[in-house]
């Protein structure tokens, strides 16, 4: 797979504070690449350097081999983007916005199928100011795609959307990827990253804390598997702490919650069987990306 976006040791400071402090990542053609991190971690600054809106203080950024600052015009033809907190003039209609942005590109997509695909076909005569949050986001996705780009950057796309609109938007993003467009997705929603991304870079305090597939990130974190049950008889603390690969123990209202690995699960079941204790409401679940994320960003803080 050829690399579409290449970021090498990117650095950017504001007022002496390093917001991006040596970020490196490579986005391959045809994947959905997620940038995940807490607020203020440097996610948006990183993608703004990719978009050419900001010039890096150090390091190198290449989009299809081009420098987004020096070759801004060329990059803008292959990279479409949706910005966090951006608006259009309230009295501009959807059709006019699509026509205007289509006119900027040498080889734009056909407006009618694009509007159809994004569920905007019935809203073409509606002014931007009258659109709902979900409709606005769909219009911004349409504007990001209208130039027929090779890569799109979507920054906090679903923030502020209701769960229904969020799920619809996810389907759209998968649809975009299925058409061969590489997607760089900035988010702070774990569920979104887990569902959509092929690979994720977790950014914390301006650095890449981890870069892996969602499953890889979860496996890597200490408590990848969570076991919870209500025992029929008391279980001694020393028995629990002796369990292999144990990451944490929690007791609450007579219920025990352990996190660890598959090894831990096997050992708990053996332990309970040996003491003839029944595990009521036994649940064994894989940790979510949420847990992995908290684990990764906590390690960074320590």
């Amino acid at each position: 797979m050829p690399t579409v976006i290449e970021v090498t040791d990117l650095r950017k400071s504001y007022g002496g504070r390093a917001v991006v402090d040596g970020v490196s990542l490579a986005v391959e053609e045809g994947e959905i690449f997620g940038i995940l991190g807490p607020n203020g971690a440097g996610k948006t600054t990183t993608v703004e350097c990719v978009e050419g809106l900001r010039a890096p203080d150090g390091g190198r950024v290449r989009v299809t081999g081009l420098d987004p600052v020096a070759d801004h015009e060329k990059v803008s033809r292959v990279l479409g983007a949706q910005l966090q907190q951006s608006e259009l003039p309230p009295k501009l209609t959807v059709r006019e916005a699509l026509e205007l942005y289509a006119s900027f590109y040498p080889d734009p997509l056909d407006r009618a199928p694009l509007a159809e695909r994004l569920g905007l076909a019935g809203k073409l005569a509606t002014r931007f100011g009258k659109l709902s949050g979900g409709q606005r986001q769909r219009l911004f996705i349409a504007l990001a795609l209208i130039g027929n780009p090779r890569v799109v950057v979507l920054d906090e796309l679903t923030t502020g959307l209701d769960p229904r609109a969020r799920r619809d938007t996810w389907e759209l993003i998968e649809d975009v990827r299925d058409r061969g467009v590489t997607v760089l997705l900035v988010t702070h929603f774990m569920e979104e990253a887990q569902r959509l991304c092929d690979r994720i870079a977790v950014i914390d305090k301006g650095r890449v804390a981890a870069l892996d597939t969602p499953a890889g990130l979860i496996r890597r974190s200490a408590g990848a598997t969570v076991i919870s049950f209500t025992p029929s008889a008391p279980v001694a603390d020393h028995d629990l702490t002796a369990l292999p690969d144990l990451a944490s123990v929690e007791r609450k209202d007579g219920r025990i919650t352990l996190s660890g690995t598959d090894e831990t699960v096997n050992a708990v079941i053996t332990l309970l069987a040996r003491h003839r204790i029944t595990a009521h409401q036994l649940r064994v679940v894989d940790a979510t990306l949420d847990d992995a994320f908290l684990d990764l960003t906590k390690e960074e803080a320590a």
Binding site: L53, S86, E87, S103, P106
Partner: protein, 244 residues
């Protein structure tokens, strides 16, 4: 100049009833109201034999330029910046400066159209003669429009939000109207005041338009003042304007 951007900006202008009214209709409306007062249609010796309505045609022309320059232009530009429209445009192959120049063309064209309307209504309704030195009149008018747009760009450059742009615009608006001769025609002002007023863009423009209306080539002093202001304000706007 990007024609699609220009067309869009013109459409958006037409969808603002306030902007259309104040820039395009208000100056002529004011002329009609003043011209309807009988005493405004009688020759006045203190105006060198002119009728007050004659003196108010150039004032109406300048009001159109001032409205476009310090009211509607900064609102439109600052609004685009505030909403991130300029920033979004930076992600396209078209430079956001295309939006800036489109705004200037739209505002300038509407203001000049409004000026033409005032001249025509003055001529047809009140028998105010058309400028006797049309070339000089046009030159003074274009320079005044350039100065007004440059002033508006500076207001927009200094205003972070449309609210601030509105406040600065209003603060600039009344002195500019005074200089244009809305309350006292510039030629009637006491000597010292006239000197100060004629060193401002619209004071100089008022005098230059008066001269051209009467059949003389506008004074180089007035044209020079207008040109100097335009250059100075454009440089300021270029220095201070921010895209986001």
């Amino acid at each position: 100049m990007n024609t699609a951007v220009l067309r869009t900006e013109f459409r958006l202008f037409c969808r603002e009833p306030g902007a259309v009214f104040w820039v395009f209709l208000f100056p002529t409306l004011l002329l009609v109201i003043l011209g309807s007062i009988p005493s405004f249609r009688e020759a006045d010796t203190s105006l060198g034999g002119l009728r007050p309505v004659d003196a108010y045609v150039p004032v109406a022309v300048l009001i159109a330029l001032i409205m476009a320059g310090v009211q509607t232009l900064p609102q439109a530009l600052t609004g685009h910046r505030e909403r991130g429209v300029l920033r979004r445009m930076r992600l396209t192959p078209v430079r956001p400066s295309a939006l800036l120049s489109a705004q200037m063309v739209v505002q300038g064209t509407v203001a000049l159209g409004s000026a033409l309307l005032a001249l025509l209504v003055g001529r047809l309704a009140f028998g105010v003669p058309l400028p006797r030195q049309p070339g000089g009149y046009l030159l003074a008018l274009l320079l005044a429009a350039a100065a007004a747009l440059a002033l508006g760009s500076v207001v927009s450059a200094l205003s972070r939000t449309t609210k601030i742009a509105g406040a600065i615009g209003s603060a600039v608006f009344f002195p500019m109207m005074f200089c244009a001769g809305v309350w006292i025609p510039v030629r009637e002002m006491p000597h010292a005041m006239a000197r100060v007023v004629q060193s401002t863009p619209f004071g100089a423009a008022a005098r230059a338009l008066d001269q051209a209306a009467a059949g003389h080539w506008p004074g180089w002093e007035q044209l020079g003042v207008l040109a100097a202001w335009t250059i100075l304000l454009t440089a300021g706007a270029a220095r201070w304007f921010r895209w986001e």
